[in-house]
Subunit: 291 residues, 2 copies
Amino acid sequence: MTVVPGFTGGTLDRADHLRHDPTALAATIDWRARLLRLDGLIPAIADDARLGWTTLTDAPDEAELILLGIGDGRAHFAALLPGLRHDDLPAMRNPALMGALASLAPGEAATYAAARSLIDWHLRHGFCARCGTATTLFRAGWGRSCPQCGAEHFPRVDPVVIMIAEHDGRALLGRGKGWPPGRYSALAGFLEPGESVEEAVAREIHEEAGVRIRDVRYIASQPWPFPSQLMMACVATADDDTLTIDANELEDAIWVPRDEVRRILAGEDGAFIAPPPYAIAHTLLTVWAAG
Amino acid sequence: MTVVPGFTGGTLDRADHLRHDPTALAATIDWRARLLRLDGLIPAIADDARLGWTTLTDAPDEAELILLGIGDGRAHFAALLPGLRHDDLPAMRNPALMGALASLAPGEAATYAAARSLIDWHLRHGFCARCGTATTLFRAGWGRSCPQCGAEHFPRVDPVVIMIAEHDGRALLGRGKGWPPGRYSALAGFLEPGESVEEAVAREIHEEAGVRIRDVRYIASQPWPFPSQLMMACVATADDDTLTIDANELEDAIWVPRDEVRRILAGEDGAFIAPPPYAIAHTLLTVWAAG
């Protein structure tokens, strides 16, 4: 089946060559260029489920511009505002932000995801990790360089595996502490240095639920901008359904039959409340439920 | 087909719980614990294609220990040596290192990959990216924390897509500047914030070779410890074989028929020299050549 995970399908051309060509970049900064409208990091939504944009005249003089890409022959930017601190950013659970995400068209959410991840990264990476000196933005906002030691730093993307173990037609789902009542989702965790995707899937399922798996199948991926993960969704086969839950990681874990997952995704009440459609866990459950 | 990419198949249990439990960790640091033997970052190879190990008495008093995991009931560590600087590390092309990689058993190379990526990360991340203060190692070497602002920093893993575009039974291969004579490989590039794996594959092939693709199929992944990438290997379908090469990225690109790829992987002379077996490009070509 064809799947379109949330935060994918952006239509801007990232125009990597402009990041390396300050003269060509400067030529795109004109009255036609568009500036992403953000309140903190909450996007302004236009009536047609699209992102709101304005012109560069709305950016303060001291703002630094991040090139999101080219679309309709115009450069599209996000502004890194002077004085904005990381602590000022809205959390993922902010109701206004969740409402905006639920109403954005998928390709529009992709553009927002890139902008949000980059702004967040700049706010948390103002100093050189190699020598401690304050760094400056370069490459049209896709990096920071150190005036002291010359080190160049690039935005982080942290790979995360998110997966269903299946056993006898049932899927293993878990819930973390503090999640909304009834919410269960696929298990997930950060991939570590020295691991493949397949090895991280096996390690995480064993660490969190005590289940050994084999035959990892990759399903799909999505960027997740809180702050900047790459979510890689997989299915794996478990030979045994005995659970040994790590209470530091999970509050509970359950095996749910395929039919019940299908009914819940169709909107019926059941053993759990499904993750929101823009989360790849929803995509993963949909693919698995379809068999 | 079953594939075992290079740098996968490590047998140590990473024992995440010990990273969070200093008392339990300290109890593993005894005469039975093993220390990875490294010369700079070049591994010492034992006669049986396994890594060389010694005891903790060989670590200088000021060394900091990184817990690689538990195996045979013993803790296995790598040492972060006092005074070692990032510039002292051997490059990937170092002949002694390449010789070591070619002779290590795959699971042993996986352990080396984790150790090398972590040591390299510590040497390049001694300062807090958020406030510029010198940080200290914590979590048994799997993180650094800032005594000034309290920020916690964790090792980077940078996702990279590596892929073959296929057209009419031929694979698109390219060569970078300065590569060994005759060497061609799959195209590759860093995944960026706000992209899925599938979108990064499409962008990179178009940027480097001017080819539009569809139907991205994930094949396999591997960690690549130079310094710490996650390589995700894919195949995609091109509808047109016209090449427009970006001279900043590639020196040349060619379409190679499946039969010829198969012959070259079998050791015969042909249009290119294959990447080494421990590179996932070799795995990817092998899977593709098998049809």
